[in-house]
């Protein structure tokens, strides 16, 4: 008789191994070599574990390397040193196609919320859904719902050029959340927002977290940091854990 999976040769059942952290960085380094200038280390030997279901915050001064760290963990660029493990898999040697597929499991809210100009907000928010297949009308409905969640349903037909910075920030978050990602990465999601809007954005992150998504956020906002289950501080490219709730 064939033993059930997970049963060792001795026949003693084992407890199933816990799922690996959603993303983990080990000894990460990122060095830039701007043309004609000296090499610059944005991230130096940074290690971080983002467990599933956690709300992790990275704080620190501007220019300290937070955005670069999020880019590395969000598989937007390759580190010059160390490894990134996404769902336990080392993504360094993964093909570009595989890295793109992994990115579909991540919702990234960028600083400044870059949008495709000329497209309406609802089209912008629906764009990440297009390669996943399905009807355009269904994508649109989900995008409208995501915009409604960030309080911008009335502006769905507007173009990004017509929006304020704060509104754009919320559209960026709607785009990050539209695909129900396992990991939400947000870079300074409440910067440049008034208190009420910042509250609303934080509420959305909390909501995503409550629905089971892991949240990784770079922020100075004490309100955001207060939500974090784990906190890191980053300065001059170096990362250190500061507190765990």
């Amino acid at each position: 008789m064939t033993p059930p999976p997970g049963t060792p040769a001795s026949g003693t059942p084992t407890t199933p191994s816990p799922r690996p952290p959603i993303v983990e960085g080990r000894g990460l380094a990122r060095r830039y070599r701007p043309f004609g200038r000296e090499a610059m280390d944005a991230v130096i030997d940074a290690s971080i574990v983002v467990p599933r279901g956690a709300f992790v915050a990275v704080t620190g001064p501007s220019g300290g390397g937070k955005t670069t760290l999020l880019s590395l963990l969000g598989i937007l660029e390759r580190p010059t040193g160390g490894v990134v493990l996404f769902d336990g898999r080392d993504v360094h040697d993964a093909s570009e196609a595989e890295r793109s597929r992994l990115r579909r499991r991540i919702g990234f809210a960028f600083q400044g919320s870059p949008m495709i100009r000329g497209l309406s907000l609802v089209e912008n928010v629906a764009y990440p859904l297009v390669p996943r297949g399905g009807r355009a009308s269904a994508h649109r409905a989900r995008a409208e719902e995501a915009l409604a969640r960030v309080g911008l349903a009335a502006l769905a037909r507007k173009r990004p050029e017509e929006l304020s910075g704060g509104e754009l920030q919320r559209v960026g978050l709607a785009r990050a959340l539209v695909g129900d990602p396992e990991l939400v990465i947000a870079d300074e999601p409440t910067s440049n927002l008034d208190a009420a809007t910042a509250d609303r954005v934080l509420g959305l992150l909390r909501e995503a977290h409550a629905r089971g998504a892991t949240v990784l956020v770079a922020s100075h906002d004490p309100a955001v940091l207060a939500q974090a289950t784990e906190r890191y501080e980053m300065a001059a490219g170096r990362l250190r854990a500061t507190a765990t709730a």
Binding site: E96, F108, P131
Partner: protein, 397 residues
């Protein structure tokens, strides 16, 4: 399939999203394609005309040869050739260039017996020229328009010959199935033509009609004639005979040669146009990089980004090719192929003043679309691929 169509639809949408970039690309491609489409259309029109001309013409064309060179034929050759078995008809013809009017417009005089005007012509006003000695001519309608001639007008002496000069009268104006004939042909009586060129009792060629299917046998028999007229101090004039099939092949190869030279020049121009299109596709390049960065960062794969660019290229290529074909039609039909017709029609001015024959066939149109696609894809997919190959964070920076 759903995602394939969805991605392609975003590419189509992208054309309208960036009107300046799309307009610059279409403009660059149209500039490269337009001369090619117009040139091919003219070339095909010319070939059609040549085919009609040959089909309506004689079975055999006989010209003279002396000391291995072209020579006029003595008029006696008509009787000698007519005596060859299998020959049913022989028409003597004189062809030569003259210059008319103050502008010295080039025209071709064709001297024929009055009753032997080509079937593809029809006199639209006036009448046919009277037999010699009347100095009368029938002029092509386009040439008449250009020189401001109408029936009854007199043309001052335009040649010198041993028998003096004569004032000609325009007695008729003709149209032809072959529009270029209308542009520069003048029909006169055979004897009058001989007088114009001061070549009494000589003709340029003979148009021979045969009875049986074996044209080659008749050709050989004419070739073997010892002499086509009395042998003078310069020796005999022998025949050179070209069959209709051979003439068709010669015309076709001549046209293909000209078309080939044109194609080569165009390909060189296109080779130069590709970098131009690459540069023009650089209009909005930063925007494209940014867009691709956003797409990649939100989970699009490189091949999906390229499919989007390919759909955009296809729309731009079809738009460019369609516009090039429409503009080529306007150029040839509305402006008489200004500047390009003279490349294919020797003797035509830059502004031909006649409806130049052309045919915009489906195959060149498809070829044109394909070329447009190659050119546009080189620019659009190339730049998208470069942006998609970079890390998304690089493209977003």
């Amino acid at each position: 399939m759903g995602s394939f169509l969805g991605i392609a639809a975003t590419g189509v949408r992208s054309v309208l999203l960036h009107p300046l970039r799309s307009a610059v690309t279409v403009g660059g491609v149209v500039a490269a394609l337009l001369p090619f489409v117009a040139g091919l259309g003219l070339s095909r029109g010319l070939r059609d005309q040549a085919e009609v001309s040959v089909r309506e013409g004689a079975d055999l064309y006989v010209t003279g040869r002396r000391l291995g060179r072209d020579a006029s034929l003595p008029l006696e050759a008509v009787a000698r050739v007519r005596a060859v078995p299998g020959v049913t008809d022989v028409v003597p013809r004189i062809v030569g260039e003259i210059r008319l009017g103050d502008e010295q417009v080039s025209a071709v005089v064709v001297g024929l017996p009055r009753e032997r005007l080509p079937r593809v012509t029809s006199v639209v006003s006036g009448r046919l020229f009277a037999p010699s000695p009347a100095a009368e001519m029938v002029v092509g309608s386009a040439l008449a328009r250009r020189l401001g001639l109408s029936v009854g007008d007199r043309i001052p002496p335009f040649y010198r010959c041993a028998r003096g000069e004569r004032v000609f009268t325009v007695v008729g104006i003709f149209d032809a199935d072959l529009p270029v004939w209308e542009a520069n042909l003048v029909f006169v009586d055979l004897e009058i033509a001989a007088e114009i060129f001061d070549q009494r009792d000589l003709v340029s060629s003979l148009l021979v009609t045969t009875s049986g299917p074996d044209r080659e046998a008749v050709k050989t028999a004419i070739d073997r004639l010892d002499a086509l007229g009395p042998v003078d101090a310069h020796g005999p004039v022998r025949a050179r005979v070209v069959t209709r099939d051979r003439l068709e092949a010669l015309l076709s190869s001549g046209l293909l040669h000209r078309e080939g030279v044109f194609d080569l020049l165009w390909l060189l121009a296109l080779a130069m146009a590709i970098p131009v299109v690459l540069v023009t596709s650089g209009v909005g390049l930063a925007e494209r990089r940014r867009e691709v960065g956003i797409l990649k960062a939100t989970g699009w794969q490189t091949d999906e980004v390229l499919l989007r660019a390919l759909a955009e290229s296809l729309v731009l290529a079809v738009a460019s090719a369609s516009l090039a074909i429409v503009l080529a039609f306007v150029w040839l039909e509305g402006f008489g192929g200004f500047g390009i017709a003279s490349v294919f029609y020797a003797g035509l001015d830059a502004m031909p003043g006649v409806r130049v024959p052309f045919r915009l066939a489906p195959v060149p149109a498809l070829l044109c679309t394909l070329m447009a696609f190659v050119v546009v894809t080189t620019g659009t997919v190339g730049s998208s691929w470069r942006a998609a190959s970079a890390a998304p964070s690089e493209a977003l920076r």
